[in-house]
Symmetry: C3
C-alpha cells in the first residue's frame, strides 16, 4: 500500500523517515534536493500536506455567473464541483456519489438544477443534500448521505478551496489585506475572454519557482519584457544592475504616490511569502512604455476599462499566493494562473483572461492581442521548466546556489514549502 | 521485488498485512474499499489468487473449428494457446518456448501443423511435445522440455482454463448442472459472426459489478431495455416497484412452465454466486415485446434458429460465472462475454456473437442488427465504470450502501470475491 | 525512496537481498531468471552497477569533426555532452547546469563556442570552466561551479565514457590489443553517412544476448546471411553442422593468413568476453560470396575504400564490447551499434554507418544500398527480442538451456554480467 506513511489528518500525518530527513536537511539558499522534484513519494506527501491542507486557488467567480452554473476542478485525484446555488452563494463539494463513488459531473463546466449521478440517478440539491435515491428502502438515512462539502473562500471574486477538515484560519487576514487592492478591479463584472490549459512535464514546484524570479526573463521572454520590468521580483542591487535598479525604485515610488494618493488605489508591496500559512505577496508595479497593460505594445488590450477606472495607466497589480497561483490585474484586463499538479513530473497550468463583461470581442478587444504575451511566455517557461526537470534526474545534479540578488522570492517559496512540511510532519 | 508477498501456490500464498486487513474488514452490504479498485498490489493479488486459481472463461469452441486452429488468450502476463489437435481434442498450453522464453504464437488466432518458435525454430506438436531443437546435443532431454500444459474444461462449447496446478474440483458439479441448459443451443454448430474487444479504464471488479445489477439500466440502456426486464437480477420488492415486480414474477412463472413443460427446456433459476469456488447463476428469462431476442425490436436477428429449435420465443438463457463471464443464449444467437484484466485500472471486455454455422450474413442475418444492442450497451457501461473508477480515487470516497432490493447480486459477487481471497490467504 | 538499496559508490554498493540472491543463484548455461529482464529494481541496479561503473561505448569521433561540435548522449537519466574543444581534444561533461540543474544542451548534436545554459545564461567554456554567472555576487566561487567532467577514452575513433569516479583501469589493455585491428580503418577520416535509432520493447540484456549468437540467423535474417556466416559466433561442431563448420574453419585459416601475412592486417580472434572488467572480443571474419562487405550482394557499398586500403575483400572485422556495443569494420564502410537502456523493458539501439569522408552520396555510395542489410536485420531482431520479452513475463517461464554449440557467447555475456554484479555487490 503506497499510502502507509502519508495520512490526511493532522496529528496522524506521517512521512517516511527518508522524506523527513530530506525536509530537515534542506540547505537554505539552495535549490531543493532531487527527490523533491522527482520522487512519487514526495509527490504524495505534497498532495496530502501542501495541496491537501492549504488554500488552493481554483477558479474565478465569473466562470460561474448564473445560479446552477458549475465547474469541476481536479486537485490531483480529488475532483471538486464548484457551483453557484439558487441564492447566488458559491459552494464546493466533492464530486463523488455517496452510493458507489461515481464521479457526478463529468464535464469541466455546465449548468444544472440538481446534481444527478449518471449511474443510478441519486439526486443531490445545490446544497449537497441527497433528495432522491431509489430502491434504498426505509432504513436508509438520506440525511447521512449528502455530498461532502469542501471549504471555499471568495476573495473579491477569486475562489479558493481547502480540502482539509480544518482549513488555515489566516485566510481572513489575507483577505482583509488584499480586498482593497483587488476590489477596484470588480471581478464580478468581468467575463472569461479566454482560458487555456497547458501541461508542463515537470514537478509543480519548478513551475512555481520559475514564476517567482525574473532572472531568466531578459534572455527568454521578449514579449513579456516589452512591458514588464524584471526588477519587480524583490531584486537587490548587484554590481551589474545597481544603476538601473535605482532608477526603477524611483519609478515605483513616483507611480505609487500617483496611484495611492491621486487615484486612491493601494499599491505598496505587502510581502508575506513565508512565515505564515497562507503565504502571499502583492504590489502594484509600473509597466514599461505607456505603462498600461501586459501586451506587445504595452497599451490596453480592451477598450472597456474594468470597474470604475477612468485611466489606463495603472500598471499591473501583482498577486502571488502559496502554493499555487499568480495574478496580474491591469486597468483593462486580468490574467490569472492556477497550477494543478498531475503527477510528480507533470503539471497543468491554467491561464484565464478576464475582460469587462460588456466588452465585445472584435470591437473592444482582439483575442490574439489580448493573449499574445502570456501565451508566448507560458510556452517559453514550459521549455525552461522541462529542461530543468530533465537535468535534475542526473546523478550529477547537486542543488545550486540561488542568487542573493534575483532569486530571493524563489528562496522564500522553498522556505515556505519546507516550513509547511515541517509543521505538518510534526503536528 | 514487487512480488515478495504474493506467491502462486496455495499453502505459500501470502499477501501483505495491509491487504489481509482490507479483506478481513470488508463491510457486508457495501461497496469495497478504494484499494480493491486502484491498488497495484491488490491487483497482483487478484491475478494470483482470483485469476490464477479459478476457472476462467476464455473462448468458445467455435472459434477453433478445425484441427490445428488455435487462439491465444492473455490472462494478464500469462499468454495461453488454446488449440484443437488432430483428434479434435482441445488443449491449452502456456505460450512460452522452453528455450529462451519467446512467445510462440504471436497472433490472436491462426492455424498450424506444429507450434514452431520464431526465434530458434524449436518445434512442438499439438500435444505440446518437443519434436525438434537443433544444436542442443545428445545430453539434452527433449522429453523434459515440452510445452507446459494448462487445465481446460469444455462446458457445452464454452472453454474454461485454470492456471493453477490443482484446479477447483467443483467444476464438475457446475458442468452437470449447466449442460441441460446449454446443450440444446448446440454451440458446436455455431460460428462466430462478430467479436469485438473494448478496453475500459477501470478495475475489472467494477466491470463485473456493473454486470450484476440492472438498477442502472432504465436511465442508461434504452437499446437493452427494449427487450430485457431489469427485474431478472434478483430484484426484491421495493416500495417503488412492487406491483411491476409481481407481474414480472407471474410472467416468469408462465413462461418457465411453457419452456420446461411444453418444450423440454430447463428454465428455473439456479443461483450459486457465492458459497462455492466455481460460483455461477443461470435462469431462462422472459424478454419483453415478442420475447424472442436481445435486438432493438426484440425479434430474432438470425432466421436460422440454433440447435433443433422450432420456435423463436425462448427468451434469453442467462449464465454468469465467477469471476469473469456472462452469457445470453437465445433461440437464434448467443452473446458471450469475457473480462480480462489488463492492469489495476484497465480491463478488456471481449464480446462474441454466435449464430448458426449455416446462417449466411446478409441473407439470414444482418451484422449491424445482430450487434446493435450490445455494442450500444457495452459503450454505455464503459462510461459508467470509468466515471466510477475516477470517483473512487477521491479521498472523499467511502464505500456506499448497496440497495437491498436491486444490488443483491453485486453484493454476492463481492462476497464471493472476499470469501475466495480469505480462503486462499489462509490456505 | 526507490533507491534505498542501490548506491553509486563502490564500497557502499548495495542491492536488496532478493537481487543479491538472484545473482548468487544464477544457473550457468541457462538463460537468466525473469526478474533480470523485467524487474525495475534490477534495472536500477543495472544502471548503477553495469552502466554506471563500466566503459560505455557512446559515439564515434567523426560525429564531432570540428572544434565546438558536440553530441549529447543519455545513459538512462544521465545526460552527457561529448564535445571537441578548440585544441581538438574530446571531452565529456555532465549535461547539467550547476545553478538549478537545467539541461544545458538540448539537441542531440550541434556546435557551440561556449556552453550556455538556456535558463539564466550561466556560461561554461569547453573545458567545463564556469566563465560567467550574473547576479551571483562576490562571495560566489565560480571555480567550484564548473561542469562535472566524465571520463572519456578514444580507441581509434570509438569513444567510450565511464560515469564512475574511478573507471576500470583495464581499458588500457583493451586499447593496446585493439588498436592494431582498428587503426587501419582510419575512423578519423570517415564521415557519418546515416544514423538510425530504433526502440525495442525489451530489456537491454535481451538485445545484447540476441547479438551474441547467430543460431537465429538462418531462419530470420535472409539479408544478413547473404554475406555473413553464422559460424563466426564461437560455434562448436554439433551433429548437424560439423561438415560445414570444418569447411568454414578452413576458410578462416586461409583468409587470416592472407590478411595478416600478405596484407599486414591483424585478423586472429581475441576473446575476453568474460573474466575481465572491460570484456571484449574481436576477429576479422570472412564473408560469403565476394567477401567484400555486408550488403545484399556482398560487394562494397562505397567505391571510396577506407584508410589506405587498396583491396575490397577484407571480410568484416568484428568487435564486441561488454556491456553495450558491437561493430563491423569492412574495407569500404563501418557499421557500429550502441545499446542504451531506457527502462526495464525499453531499449534504444543506435546504428551508425560510416564511409570515407571524401565519399559522395549518389556517386560513391547509395544510402539505401548501404543501410539495407542492417535496417532489415535490426527490424527482424527487434521482433525477436520483443516476443522474448513478452514470453518472459509468463509465470510459466523457466530459464532454458543455452545451446553448448551455438550460444557460447550468450553464456559468456551472462557470465560477465553476473561476475560484474557479484564483484560490485561485494566490493
Amino acid at each position: 500500500m503506497k499510502e502507509t506513511y502519508v495520512a490526511c489528518e493532522p496529528g496522524k500525518t506521517k512521512v517516511s523517515p527518508e522524506i523527513a530527513a530530506l525536509v530537515e536537511n534542506r540547505k537554505p539558499g539552495h535549490a531543493l534536493d532531487a527527490p523533491f522534484y522527482i520522487s512519487p513519494e514526495v509527490f504524495e506527501a505534497d498532495m496530502k500536506l501542501i495541496y491537501g491542507q492549504h488554500w488552493i486557488y481554483v477558479a474565478v467567480e465569473s466562470e460561474i455567473p448564473e445560479p446552477g452554473d458549475y465547474i469541476t476542478v481536479d486537485i490531483h485525484r480529488n475532483s471538486v464541483v464548484v457551483v453557484r446555488d439558487d441564492d447566488n452563494a458559491i459552494k464546493a463539494f466533492h464530486n463523488v456519489c455517496r452510493h458507489r463513488g461515481s464521479r457526478l459531473c463529468n464535464e469541466h463546466k455546465g449548468s444544472v438544477g440538481n446534481i444527478v449521478c449518471p449511474y443510478h440517478q441519486w439526486t443531490y440539491d445545490l446544497e449537497g443534500k441527497l433528495l432522491f435515491a431509489e430502491h434504498m428502502g426505509d432504513d436508509f438515512d438520506r440525511s447521512r448521505n449528502g455530498l461532502k462539502s469542501v471549504h471555499l473562500q471568495n476573495l473579491g471574486g477569486l475562489l479558493f478551496i481547502c480540502l482539509a477538515d480544518s482549513p488555515p484560519a489566516d485566510f481572513d487576514e489575507f483577505k482583509a489585506a488584499m480586498e482593497p487592492y483587488i476590489l477596484p478591479h470588480q471581478i464580478s463584472k468581468t467575463k472569461v475572454a479566454a482560458q487555456i490549459d497547458i501541461v508542463e512535464e515537470c514537478n509543480w514546484k519548478l513551475t512555481i519557482e520559475n514564476n517567482r524570479e525574473c532572472y531568466h526573463c531578459a534572455a527568454n521572454h521578449p514579449e513579456l519584457t516589452a512591458s514588464i520590468f524584471e526588477y519587480g521580483f524583490g531584486y537587490q542591487a548587484s554590481p551589474s544592475n545597481q544603476a538601473m535598479l535605482e532608477s526603477y525604485d524611483q519609478l515605483v515610488l513616483e507611480r505609487s504616490k500617483d496611484w495611492e494618493g491621486g487615484y486612491g488605489l493601494p499599491s505598496i508591496e505587502i510581502e508575506h511569502l513565508d512565515g505564515r500559512i497562507t503565504g502571499f505577496r502583492t504590489q502594484r508595479l509600473p509597466l514599461d512604455q505607456h505603462g498600461e497593460s501586459e501586451t506587445l505594445d504595452a497599451k490596453i488590450a480592451s477598450k472597456k476599462l474594468l470597474g470604475d477606472f477612468t485611466r489606463a495607466d495603472l500598471g499591473a497589480l501583482s498577486l502571488w499566493t502559496q502554493p499555487n497561483s499568480w495574478h496580474h490585474f491591469m486597468s483593462d484586463h486580468i490574467v490569472t494562473f492556477q497550477v494543478f499538479p498531475l503527477s510528480a513530473e507533470r503539471t497543468m497550468v491554467r491561464t484565464t483572461w478576464l475582460v469587462h463583461q460588456d466588452a465585445v470581442e472584435g470591437v473592444d478587444y482582439n483575442l490574439d492581442n489580448l493573449t499574445a504575451v502570456w501565451n508566448a511566455t507560458n510556452n517559453q517557461d514550459r521549455h525552461l521548466v522541462e529542461i530543468s526537470q530533465k537535468g535534475i534526474h542526473s546523478d550529477a545534479y547537486v542543488p545550486g546556489t540561488y542568487s542573493p540578488y534575483t532569486e530571493i522570492y524563489v528562496e522564500k517559496f522553498c522556505r515556505w514549502y519546507i516550513e509547511r512540511l515541517t509543521a505538518l510532519i510534526n503536528a
